[in-house]
Symmetry: C2
């Protein structure tokens, strides 16, 4: 926990926050903070700041909060992810938040089992907890927006285009021969939308439909990676190349 995330409802008008949960345990047991000490805080979807410890014991912490004037910019990469296996997605949430993603669209694809959408891992109560854990790891405050799309064709044909009309659109697939470093120019001004297929890949039909929506194919070389590895890898490469 490299940042204590607070929700706006937790901070009173005088800037005081009181909490008793994993965060207070962390401040008490790991940081071993004492009264008067400062800890790094962030307001969910808001600015970073410093919290001065007013009281701390094994199960309660009182912080006096002071936030910066500016909220950091929203992560400029959005993600369309063919719905991963629930076990994989469960581990991926926090990592996506830590790497920085603006919006995550979980999309059905032909090689995605329908029952994945019955899993508790796409329940907001579950994933928001994981995402906030990732923000606290990555020291960022922007909670990714999550959107569940269980129908491929209507979503891609009718809504994807308008939802991401101004984005630079990249489609990751083992068939993509183009490496990211050769894209000239890199679109550093626009937001980026990265689409990553299911294990086994997009079908030719799905690839076609996406390419018609202005996606450009990208590859990661000869290796075929698991989708969670590829997602982390491509987000890291984009963060590196786009200068964040």
């Amino acid at each position: 926990m490299n940042l204590i995330i607070l929700q706006s409802t937790e901070v009173d008008v005088d800037g005081r926050a009181v909490f008793s949960d994993a965060r207070s345990k962390h401040i008490h047991n790991v940081l071993k903070a004492v009264s008067g000490q400062q800890v790094r805080i962030g307001l969910l979807n808001g600015p970073l700041g410093q919290g001065t410890v007013e009281r701390v014991d094994s199960d309660k912490v009182v912080l006096q909060c002071k936030f910066e004037a500016e909220t950091p910019p929203r992560p400029r990469i959005d993600l369309i992810l063919a719905m991963p296996r629930p076990k994989v997605l469960k581990r991926l949430w926090a990592q996506l938040a830590a790497l920085g993603v603006g919006r995550i669209v979980l999309l059905r694809a032909e090689k995605v089992e329908r029952y994945y959408f019955d899993s508790h891992v796409i329940n907001p109560d579950f994933y928001n907890k994981q995402l906030i854990e990732g923000l606290q790891q990555g020291r960022c405050t922007h909670l990714p927006e999550v959107q569940i799309e269980p129908l491929f064709k209507p979503y891609v044909e009718d809504r994807l285009g308008s939802e991401f009309s101004a984005h630079w659109k990249l489609l990751a697939d083992p068939s993509g021969a183009q490496r990211l470093r050769y894209f000239q120019p890199l679109e550093k001004e626009r937001r980026t939308l990265l689409a990553i297929g299911p294990e086994g890949g997009w079908t030719p039909y799905e690839l076609e439909l996406l390419k018609e929506r202005d996606f450009e194919l990208v590859g990661m070389g000869d290796r075929i990676l698991r989708t969670d590895t590829a997602t982390i890898g491509l987000l890291s490469v984009l963060n590196e190349l786009l200068g964040r």
Copy 2:
């Protein structure tokens, strides 16, 4: 399984391989291969090739193997990893093999618990299975060499320098302000050694000792990532920038 890995002892002098395990199940149940069909194969630490199915049923496959003349080059990145928590390392093995790593040194650091080294996940029987699974995913044949170093100081002071004398050495740490894309020139000719610290980071003493061995600090920006996320991210960025 995007490649069927065979060990040299499994292929007889006539190029025939017989096996009954996860590989035969994959060929039968997933590829639904029939006699005469070709499947992609690779010889462990050797060349890629094609296997012609001679017989296939639910629990046995006979392949006639034909390998290419050349073995692909060994992955040019080696890794020193402060020993991760066993639960994390367990999941990491296959991903490291799929991303491509020549050698993996698992090193004790001050913020590494000693009991991590008692875990079965650093038993060769365990990790070789995971690594081969990763090779079969990533379609590569080079089994990473694994080296366990439970003593930081003697290893770094006495052996690291000579074991990696000609390597370009990079030390990943949140204190590293330098991003990989700004390294000029990127050392594309030498092998690369990437060192990644434990959760909580290297201590100042450890950082000093490593810097004295010609490591250059690199960072990944403002975000602090879990070490497994950082490892996958940095390997992906290096693979991208070094042209593989």
